[in-house]
């Protein structure tokens, strides 16, 4: 059980890092010519880490890991849209 929880948390963390890496494309958009290579490398490295763990973990641990990743992805999208709605609400005033 404890191991599954740890796998879940690891999945959350790596999902977080993958999303943060992908944001690099947006954050450095105006300087993309200079930074495209390091951004892509970072995305690939984190993606590779994710893949390794998915392939290496078995059974419930693997399910827990993937659940963690999906959980954070959904959580991030929800928070993103809540933030946008909040902004729209504030600016409507």
């Amino acid at each position: 059980m404890m191991l599954e929880v740890l796998c879940f948390l690891l999945g959350v963390h790596l999902s977080m890092m993958l999303i943060a890496s992908c944001y690099g494309l947006i954050d450095l958009w105006y300087r993309i010519a200079d930074f495209i290579f390091p951004i892509l490398v970072r995305i690939l490295v984190v993606a590779a880490l994710n893949t390794i763990f998915i392939l290496w973990l078995q059974g419930t641990n693997q399910i827990a890991f993937i659940s963690g990743q999906l959980f954070f992805l959904v959580f991030h999208i929800v928070i993103f849209w809540i933030g946008r709605i909040l902004v729209i609400f504030l600016t409507r005033q």
Binding site: A20, D27, W29, H76
Partner: protein, 863 residues
Amino acid sequence: MPIINLNEVRKEDIDTVGGKGANLGELMHQGFPVPPGFVITADTYAKFVDTEGLPPGDQIGDDAAFCATIRDKIISRALPWEFEEQILFSHEQLQQSRQTEIVYAVRSSATAEDLSGASFAGQHDTYYYVSINTLSMMVKKCWASLWSDAAFSYRQSQGIEHRDVKMAVIVQEMILSQTSGVTFTADPVSGSDTVIITESSWGMGAAIVDGRVSPDQYIVNKSTSELTSIKIADKKFMVPAILDQTEASRLQEVPAHLRRIESLTVDQVNIITSWAKKSEAYFGSHQDIEWAFADNEFYMLQSRPITVIGQPEDDLPKGKYVLFKPMAENFTDPLLPLSQDILGKLFPMMTIIYGRVYMNLAHARVIVPLKLSDEDLSTLAYLGDIENFKPRLSIPRLLVLFPLLYIYYLIFAVLYYRTSNMPDGNMECFRRYFQRVVDDPAISAPEAMAKLFLKTSFFEPVGNMVLLANATASRYIFLLQLLHKLLKRWLPSLNDDAASLLTSGTDGVLSTDMGREIWNLARTIKKNKTLSAIVLKEEPDRVLATLRKQNDASEFIAQLESFLHKHGHRTLKEFELNSVRWEEDPSPVIAMIRNYLLADSDPDASAARVAEQRQVLLEEVKSNLAALPLEKLFGFRFRIISFVRNRAKYFIKLRENSRFYHIMGFYAVRKKILKTEVELIEKGALKCKDDIFYLHWHEVRDLQSDTSDWSDVEELIRSRRMNHIRLNKVRPPKTVGIDIAVVDNSPLSGNQLNGQGASPGSCQGKARVIMDPAIDAVIKPGEILVAPYTDPAWTPLFLTASAAVIEVGSYLSHAGTIAREYGMPCVVDVLDCTTRITSGDLIHVDGSSGKVTLLDHATSEVA
């Protein structure tokens, strides 16, 4: 009698001539220099308006239409011819000895006015520049002002019966003053009875009374009549004695050479003080006196009791609040209403109190898992001295909060990773976004604020990055603490300031670069004697025009334009949307260049010296660590220290640079507001520049859509100006709703003032108190700068000063950052330092311990 000569009026005649009239008549009788005139009695008004026939107040209720009907009747009815004859006769009696046609000041004097228990100040009208041809109409307008909505509402709220209040009208020769002002024989804010406060400016007093002018301030010790303080304001506008009939507005610009010089001589201050004391002695109460000087002749225009003594209790919100330090350390003045409105809406967790931004502690307490008293929590929220702060962990609260803390981590972790390694100059792309928002006419001022800070456009890559970067850069606090603890643990013999020195000297900090670029501008000018002379001798706002005519100034002009392109959105008090930016008026930049020309110091030499000290310290750390177990083999301690140090430097730079772009965002909002202001002035919805900043945005929208017009906002703007003046004099408390022990900084506490060390080192020297570098920016090498706050516009002063003592600030405030870069001691958060220390005092500053010691008071005259 419908008209009484002013020299026949006595104080007992209040029912006949109103409070103001009775006061003036009595003053004249007692020999005070009151301008001559006559009074149209209150009975004349009563007969004209037929006050006996008015219904009682409870029958009228809040009927605004009733007021409007009475006002219209008063204005449209003709005065009885016999009365007109008497006015003409009184005028001829005054005119007979004059060379030029007299103009009058026509002032209302209600019979319930100017009494100690109530003040109708500003609610009944006053008219200036009135000739005999328009005198009758102005008299009727004064009568009608008794039925303005504001006066009517005030009487209702005070329970004053409308039938019982009558209006006399004072017609006095208008003094064509060169200087005028107001004097209080007690401090109207603190209630102190030991001072006489005089505020003065050029031209007519109307501009001061209306709050359109920042006046000079003179404080005199009442018992000794000694002038103890002079504060010279930047007097941009005046109402001249002689109007230019071609000008639409009475408000005119003050000539540049008069803006920053004293509007009163010491002799004039003594004359005012003498008459103020006599007035107070005669009336037996503290007085609020309006006066004027014309051809060096003193005239007392009005004297009335001060009706508001001490700080009035504002409507304080319930709850506990602490001053929002990141804003207060850059700008201690109250925000104007429009700035409050636009900023306040976007940051609802903040509250505006006394015109300043406060944080609600209730929000912080919910999420902080520490056992903290209100005082400790406010110290933490205020970013106070947390060195000696030893909070206890609340385990039960931590357990309950753990899920919340985890959610907080989930929400912000992506952002933390995104901002962990941003390349230098990345936020510069915000400038493009700024320009797009400015150029889009469909975006209003509040929308611009939202777009530039909160990202409403999905496809805008930079969006709200600067805000997010600033929010996440607060990690520096923990990293600095960690670095300090690591050094203490591994190298306890090392100086306490080592962490500060090790984290200074970061390249690419925009506000430090700005100071360097101004120095480079000064160096360019210095190479040419002619250009140097122009900068040193001419007024800053004329220098650029003169330089443009010089052929050999082209290099400097190009350099200046490049500087303004990069830094033109900056200014003093840059959080205030009303502050004029350097791009709009480069004269403050010219003034800073001039200060550099006058200074003997070289910032490059200072920076090199600090860099050398830093390098020596780093080597000392490395060599001392080598003595510890396994360090020579693995070097892990030094690697950890280097890592923490570099991370701290990175976040310090991130925070400082994100602020640079915040200000750019504010400039975009200001541009939008100014565009709207031009439109409203052109269509007559606003009358004066800057009036828009005294409205809230929904009121501006109403003016744009013609839902309201000037008459709906005129009084509102006026009362908000008055309130702003009052708030300017209020020192904002650090906390609201919390009883905390105030640090005792009185001279009785061993002449020591306590603050927070922001840059290490110690130094002794003469203090130079500077309240506003736009007005008073001369500091001699070796002097110690004492200031209420600083922002990047103060940077050149740091070059000359040997140390800095700042009233509001934090370790990472501008003052602390720049002081560390220049290697000079700095103590921030020193309560009351600008009042406890005067220019010329000998002080000792210890930037390591955060203590300032007053060694000797200045013996020279007021600085």
